[in-house]
């Protein structure tokens, strides 16, 4: 007869922790903590869900503490487990919050997480070729792109900064379509490579006075703190939507994303200068609002992770609220139509990559109206 042992109560705690840390699927860890009282106590006491989340997202090492908001029920929660104490309650709270976070982060539903464009390091022919052109896929509306200013030195980089839909998002990949001159030369103004940074603003209202498409580049180092830097990805000189999948999903804490475009490859025939152009940007991932929100504690740069227990998970399709009053009606209309289109496509598609491939083929189509000035 096979020997069956409740190993948790028999082995060294260190070994049992090591065993349970091999459970990478959050639902496995939930099931394990529902086996018996001692198992549940063990998972809570050893902070196993916190460890799991930290392994998935090292960015969480900056969490100072967690909070639960809108916890319903005036009565004390059912005391499952052994002794009740302040420390235990703190561990139990960590357990609940990180278990919910693990679930939300591993959900398969993905969407475009860009809320608005903040600024570009330089812009040619502002506002015609401003960064806000990158928010809409070219073939849906009209051929359009953001263009940097020209440089004689091809090593001069550019940056594009975007605000994401919430201050707490999981980002898996970024898609970028370089700008292409469609009238004459068919030159593609890609960059040599790209790199991504994510972070938050330094102070609470640093973006308050910024207008959409402002040609004045903000001094990024003064305004933002970057908590994640991706590896450098080579970019192809092709006028199609290129996929840059991050090595691991990343938690963007603070909702700010920067695209660094490194190295210019294309010289303009007319003025002989090197430019970089981008026609479309898509940041793919999942927003964790309103279930989760963060409060960034300055100057330590750590943050408080808050779980709103009555907040429903944001599930597409659902139209985003218009937060930025700077957006003109025209842009709002375009944005609205874009979202409708995007949402209709995404329904029924489990994988947004299918959607992206449709756009790629769309890029090759001739446009009825092409307005290109360089």
């Amino acid at each position: 007869m096979e020997v069956c042992i409740d190993f948790l109560n028999w082995l060294d705690p260190d070994i049992s922790v090591q065993i349970l840390m091999y459970l990478e699927d959050p639902s496995d860890l939930v099931h394990a903590s529902s086996v018996s009282r001692s198992w549940r106590d063990f998972v809570i006491a050893n902070g196993l869900f916190k460890h799991l989340c930290l392994r998935m997202f090292p960015q969480l090492s900056r969490v100072a503490r967690v909070m639960e908001l809108n916890k319903c029920g005036a009565k004390e929660p059912v005391e499952v487990g052994s002794s009740y104490s302040m420390e235990w309650e703190s561990l139990a709270r960590d357990h609940r919050v990180y278990a919910t976070l693990a679930q939300v982060c591993t959900s398969f539903i993905v969407e475009d997480c860009i809320s608005e464009a903040i600024s570009a390091s330089s812009t040619d022919h502002y506002p015609d070729e401003s960064i806000h052109n990158t928010l809409l896929p070219a073939y849906t509306w009209r051929a359009s792109y953001w263009s940097s200013k020209g440089q004689s030195n091809p090593a001069v980089p550019e940056t594009l900064i975007y605000k994401l839909k919430s201050e707490f998002c999981v980002i898996t990949e970024i898609n970028i379509c370089p700008g292409q001159e469609l009238l004459s030369s068919l030159h593609i103004y890609s960059s040599n490579s790209v790199r991504f940074r994510m972070g938050h603003t330094k102070g609470p209202n640093d973006l308050g006075s910024r207008h959409l498409g402002d040609s004045l580049p903000c001094n990024a180092d003064d305004t933002f703190i970057w908590t994640y830097t991706s590896p450098e990805f080579p970019m192809a000189q092709e006028g199609c939507l290129q996929n840059f999948r991050l090595p691991e999903p990343v938690l963007c804490i603070g909702g700010i994303l920067q695209i660094e475009l490194l190295g210019r490859v294309q010289r303009n025939e007319i003025d002989g200068l090197f430019y970089i152009c981008v026609s479309y940007v898509q940041v793919v991932g999942r927003t964790l609002s309103p279930t989760f929100c963060v409060e960034i504690l300055e100057p330590s740069g750590t943050f408080v992770l808050k779980n709103d227990m009555q907040g429903k998970f944001y599930t597409p399709p659902s139209l985003p609220k218009n937060e930025a009053h700077e957006i003109s009606d025209d842009q709002l209309q375009r944005g609205f139509r874009y979202w409708q289109h995007f949402v209709n496509r995404l329904e029924g598609n489990e994988n947004a990559v299918e959607f992206i491939e449709e756009y790629e083929s769309g890029e090759e189509e001739d446009e009825a109206e092409v307005e290109y000035t360089l």
Binding site: E2, V3, C4, I5, D6, F7, W10, L11, D12, I15, Q18, I19, L20, Y22, L23, D25, P26, S27, D28, V30, H31, A32, S33, S34, V35, S36, R37, W39, R40, P77, V78, V80, R96, A99, Q103
Partner: protein, 147 residues
């Protein structure tokens, strides 16, 4: 150079030093100069020690062939629960990191994809939650219990 190890049931195993020092515990003894005589291992029986030494020997022999080694490890760890726990305890006592990791991973594999009830059955654990407590836990983690 050869070392002599004695299991809990007094069986002597002669082993190459290179193989035996896969165990950090034995390695320390050798470095401290305490390995001249027979090394007693009161926490490991002969059956388990034989398996452990087989693991160590193969890790020396197949060190450069990752694929072959993985194939060996996968086959090696296909044992029943009792032997698995014995291996785990021995690996911990003898401080053989890769064996300990593999054994822990195997135990975890026993839990993966199982409901709490299935885990209880596998490990012969009694459910000591009250119905109210169970309900509370289910509500907390509805998502994990959706089938």
């Amino acid at each position: 150079m050869a070392l002599e190890l004695k299991s809990s049931d007094n069986k002597i195993f002669e082993v190459e030093e290179l193989v035996a020092v896969q165990s950090e515990t034995i390695k320390s003894l050798v470095e401290d100069g305490c390995a001249d005589n027979v090394i007693p291992l009161p926490n490991v029986d002969s059956k388990t020690l034989e398996l452990v030494l087989d693991w160590c020997k193969n890790h020396v022999d197949m060190k450069l062939d990752e694929e072959k080694l993985k194939e060996y490890e996968d086959k090696f760890i296909e044992v029943d629960q009792a032997v698995l726990y014995d291996l785990l305890l021995a690996a911990n006592y003898l401080n053989i990191k890769d064996l300990l990791n593999r054994a822990c991973q195997k135990v975890a594999d026993m839990l993966k994809g199982k409901t709490p009830e299935q885990i209880r059955e596998t490990l012969n654990i009694v459910n000591d939650f009250s119905p109210e407590e169970e309900e509370e836990i289910r509500k907390e983690n509805l998502w994990a219990f959706e089938e």
